[in-house]
């Protein structure tokens, strides 16, 4: 099983979630993060003082998937998130040793979905 962490543009979130659903990956966890990357944000201006804003708003999507779903997950995220501009984000994949569904106590592959 794999644990996927994707950092994407906030405005692509809906698309990414939709693409994941299409691939049968419904369960995800989402949160708000700030990212420092290559991207320069829209320079915000406060009383004529430009803030080039090194920390930009991003959305982090986490999804635990069984190994066979990994390629589908990656390409779904790519499809939903990609605009071709700097700031599109990254996907990180880690090995997931164990999963446990709290409600039923099920463990492993079966508990992931």
């Amino acid at each position: 099983m794999k644990y996927i962490i994707a950092i994407i543009q906030p405005d692509r979130m809906d698309d990414v979630l939709e693409e994941l659903t299409k691939e049968g990956i419904h369960l995800v966890t989402v949160s708000e993060v700030l990212g420092r990357g290559r991207q320069k944000g829209i320079a915000e201006v406060y009383r004529s003082h430009k803030e080039s804003g090194s920390l930009l708003r991003k959305v982090k999507i986490e999804a635990a998937v069984n190994d066979e779903f990994l390629p589908a997950a990656l390409s779904a995220i790519k499809l939903g998130a990609r605009t071709g501009h700097v700031g599109d984000g990254k996907i990180f994949v880690m090995d997931l040793e164990a999963v446990l569904r709290i409600r039923t106590g099920e463990e492993g592959s079966i508990a992931i979905g």
């Binding site: 405005d11 700030l34 829209i42 915000e44 406060y46």
Partner: protein
Amino acid sequence: MPKIKLLLLLGFLVSSVFAQSPADSGISTLVSTPSVFASSVPIVVATPVATLSPAKMDTGDTAWILVATALVFLMTVPGLALFYGGLVRKKNILSVLMQCLTLVFVLSLLWVIFGYSLSFGPTIHGLIGSSAWFGLTSVSMTLPHFDAATGLSYAPTIPHGLFMMFQMMFAIITPALIIGAFAERMRFGAFLLFSVLWSFAVYYPVAHWIWGIGGFLGSLNPSGTGAVDFAGGIVVHITAGVSALATALFMGKRKGYPDKMSPPHNLPFAVIGGGLLWFGWFGFNAGSALGANGLAVTAMVSTHIAGATAGLTWAGLDWIINRRPTMLGAITGAVGGLATVTPAAGFINIWGAIAIGFLAGLIPFLFVMLIKPRLKLDDSLDAWGVHGVGGIIGSIAVGIFASPLINGRTGLIFGDTSLFTSQLKAVSIVGLYSLAITYGLLKLVNVVSPLRVSDHEERVGLDLTQHKESAYTVLD
């Protein structure tokens, strides 16, 4: 709205002859017998007194309208701004606040330079005011208005400049109401151009028709039997509400509407805004009596009771139909009730206020609940659903519930049909006019400066793309 208390002139003459009547209570005296004197029907004095004595200025009336003016200001910023701003998504709140504030800037200047004269200046065939008062020429800051030709005055006991200022606040909030229809998707520049053109093409003429001396639809013309609009059901809520409908239709839906819209990002802001609107509405409606008199009290009571009834009605329907009374429903109902009673506030008794409040809760609820989803109309914050529908209901309802004992005009249930007919006529004409002109203006503006932001800008949000700012920080 402008009540005419013309007999005051005679009263003053008499009082100075008998050298005993305290003039300041003259106003109250007149108001205290409302069916005759404090009517909104102009009583055309045959031989107008040539000079209006400044002795007629009343400090109490002036004090109240100074405050009422400030209250109506507060309704736009931060009242309406927060009410609307809390309901949009985090990424668009500043755009709404900025639209409201910019209207304050621009329309205030337009008003003193052009708008007041076009709306309230000497009439040109009952259609529009002349340019005689451009730049406030002839608008005294110290003496009341007095129209020598007709013997009428917009407000005989307060400085003319104060009446102008009070009306300015109405001219600001009206286009601000429309923001609710196109929130989260209009380009800032196009918004500004549209609002300015709209003021000239819709607000100033309609204000003149209904409230201007000689306006062809109102009661301040020789017929004296036209439509009434106590504090702006037709001039404010119908013009804005119908134009909101046109705008929502023209602009199309927001991306993701209706299934993927995020809920209001900050409901407490909407409640603060709603509370400030209610507070300001006392100035809006009771201030439209243009004095601290019995008519102001009547309007205050009607306003409050209709707001309460409508809020309760919406909350109750929510409770029954959606299983829970919601905060947003309650505040929406209340604002709808306040909007709906606006044209009627100075003509009805508390039972009329309760009836209008009930209708103002019921009909917009049904519209937003049943009809809107079918139309797939994206009137983002229900500017049409609440202000348009409410304005129409209220402006017709005054022709039904007006009690002759309150302010000299008689509604259907008291046996007179003429007021009802006048109201229907005014509502239809103004409604259709607003719809047509607004649609035309949108087409025009769209050519000069595209109305809608790009798909990318809509996704990223208007705050960043139109104003280069974010409302909130994430960490610090």
